[in-house]
Amino acid sequence: MASKFTRSNRTGFLMAGPAVFLIGCFVILPFLFAIAFSFTNQRLMSPNPTEWVGLSNYEALLGLGTLTLEPEKDATGAVVMEDGEPKFPATRSFTRGNPDYPQLAGMREWFSFDHGGSRTFVLARDVVFMTAVVNTFLFVIIVAPVQAGIALGLALLINQRLRGINVFRAIYFMPVVVSIVVVSLLWRLIYDGQSGLLNNLLSAVSFGMIPQIDWLGNPDTALGAIIGMSIWQAVGFHMVIWLSGLQTISPTLYEAAAIEGASKTQVFRYITWPGLRNTAVLILIVITMQAFGLFAQIDVMTNGGPLDSTQTIVFQAVERGYVKKDISGGSAISVVLFVIVLSISLIQRWLTREKS
């Protein structure tokens, strides 16, 4: 509708200006800063001037090395055994002041695997960050499909024509309006090892067969417990998005299917699911982006522990940037996170593209 009546550069600038300016200052600028700071030694407060340090922040974060060792042998050439396992030289002797392996200096063992008698050690400059990356991916890989799936199930359930269905919709959505911080603190008591509701419930339904578990204090269950709670809190959000997708599907398609005598599975397979295609892509991307931001649950429930089993990327970024006042290190983590989120949403878009 471009006409001489709608054209006005001045009005356009004046009306869009304030919002655009603020977004520029508080989204775009910090984003560019994150990239710039990650190549410096910037600190929150420092007497020393800021200097360019090239890639060294990334090197300190992502540096990996491998070391393949043969088991120790005694004078006769037999493998030295210790506790029934072959004994390997300590990796310490290679990573600390060993002039033959300068590239490994300062690294620590991340994990190791055996092959054909020898053992390969994977060393990392920052083992905690590596653990955080793995945990975050684990969280996303489990939460994205499970939460999207449960949300779809709930949406289908809520989409029925039943008296009072709105009441159920309202209840399922309720946790979404409650802050994740509140939810996390509340669930700390539910997950409690001694008097937690969950343990009491499990022991009641199993007649005492299931032992008491300290859900958040055990490295094997802590991340799982956080995953369960996070899904409980957020699933209503995605249920509503699925629901609005469901309601865009034309009722005439369902009527036609009913006349043709299609089964419930057929209706879902050939009408509902194809109609939800765009919604599915959107939900997957939204959940993934939200899941990568995992922070509040960790901060309130576990502080990254026990034994780093709930460390996450954002928790590490805050630990560096805020607690240790190391803006450059925190920025480098932020950039790594952004690259991960961007690549994954691009991959998701590509995988779910319309095939013509």
Binding site: M1, A19, Q42, V318
Partner: protein, 292 residues
């Protein structure tokens, strides 16, 4: 609906409702537990969690935990801060983002296409990835106040408000909504000689009730529930919002009764607000999806 009641039909109906109720229980039990526990002394609270009493207001019921919570932390200050920060941000956000949406949709000006695509691109930048550099930025920003020029925004209200007034999503929601309004109406008003401000205030805003509600609810939820940012920028008690205030309650020896009282105090008003405006809340979340 013609009800030909057969046993089969009745049974199916009962099963459906049973499933719905069971799921409802899963979503509601922690919240009921929170509310009931807030009324009980610590020892009883922990004992009750072994039985259904956990969800009932039975035993030694009182508001003592609430009194003690008020003694432990400046609860009223936190509540005031949260309401102030959330309220001001929501109002300013509605004004500035609706104006921007208006300019992008109805006004024809140089650079609007480019700027709109830049704004949309910001949607893929999660807040968590810019929080750290923004912390440094906030510690250095200038401000002109009563005492003249000063630097540093930490421990203020403005550091919690200004960065969140405008965001890509809110502008985008307004743009989508305005696109569906009849453009001829605006052009006709222009031909009649109405100014842009008159059109914005007298024609477009009165038609924007639903989208204003949506944008307000979304902003309200993000602002009131914010944690990471206020945690980093408010070291002084006087500026802390309710979510950061929670930290006073989960230190060394957790007094669960007080914790539950504080949680109920900051959550129940929001839940009541939600239940009252339930349709609008759900519609606003849905709108972030439909057109995305």
């Amino acid at each position: 609906m013609a009800m030909i009641a057969s046993d089969n039909h009745g049974l199916r109906l009962v099963t459906r409702y049973a499933v719905l109720v069971l799921i409802a229980v899963i979503f509601i039990f922690p919240l009921v537990f929170m509310l009931m526990s807030s009324l009980k002394p610590d020892q009883q609270l922990l004992q009750d969690s072994g039985s259904l009493r956990a969800f009932l207001p039975v035993g030694d019921i009182s508001l003592q935990n609430y009194t003690k919570a008020f003694e432990r932390a400046p609860v009223l200050t936190f509540v005031f801060n949260s309401l102030l920060v959330t309220g001001v941000t929501v109002v300013l956000s509605l004004v500035l983002c609706s104006m921007a949406g208006f300019a992008f949709v109805f006004v024809d000006w140089k650079g609007r296409g480019v700027l709109l695509s830049v704004l949309l691109a910001t949607l893929i930048v999660p807040f968590e990835t810019i929080a750290i550099p923004m912390l440094l930025l906030a510690s250095k920003l200038p401000w002109v106040g009563m005492e003249g020029l000063s630097y540093g925004w930490l421990n203020t209200y403005r550091v919690q408000i200004v960065p969140f007034i405008a965001d890509g999503l809110t502008v985008f929601l307004f743009v989508q909504y305005f696109k569906d309004l009849p453009g001829e109406l605006i052009e006709a008003a222009r031909v009649e000689g109405a100014s842009w401000w008159q059109i914005y205030r007298k024609i477009v805003m009165p038609l924007s009730g639903p989208i204003l509600a949506t944008a307000a609810i979304l902003k309200f939820l993000t602002m009131y529930n914010q944690y990471l940012w206020p945690l980093m920028v408010t070291q002084e008690e006087g500026y802390r919002p309710v979510m950061v205030g929670l930290q006073y309650f989960f230190q060394l020896n957790v007094a669960w009764g007080e914790v539950m009282a504080y949680l109920s105090l900051i959550t129940v008003p929001v839940l009541a607000f939600y239940l009252y405006l339930q349709k609008a809340f759900i519609a606003s979340i849905a709108s972030t999806g439909v057109k995305g």
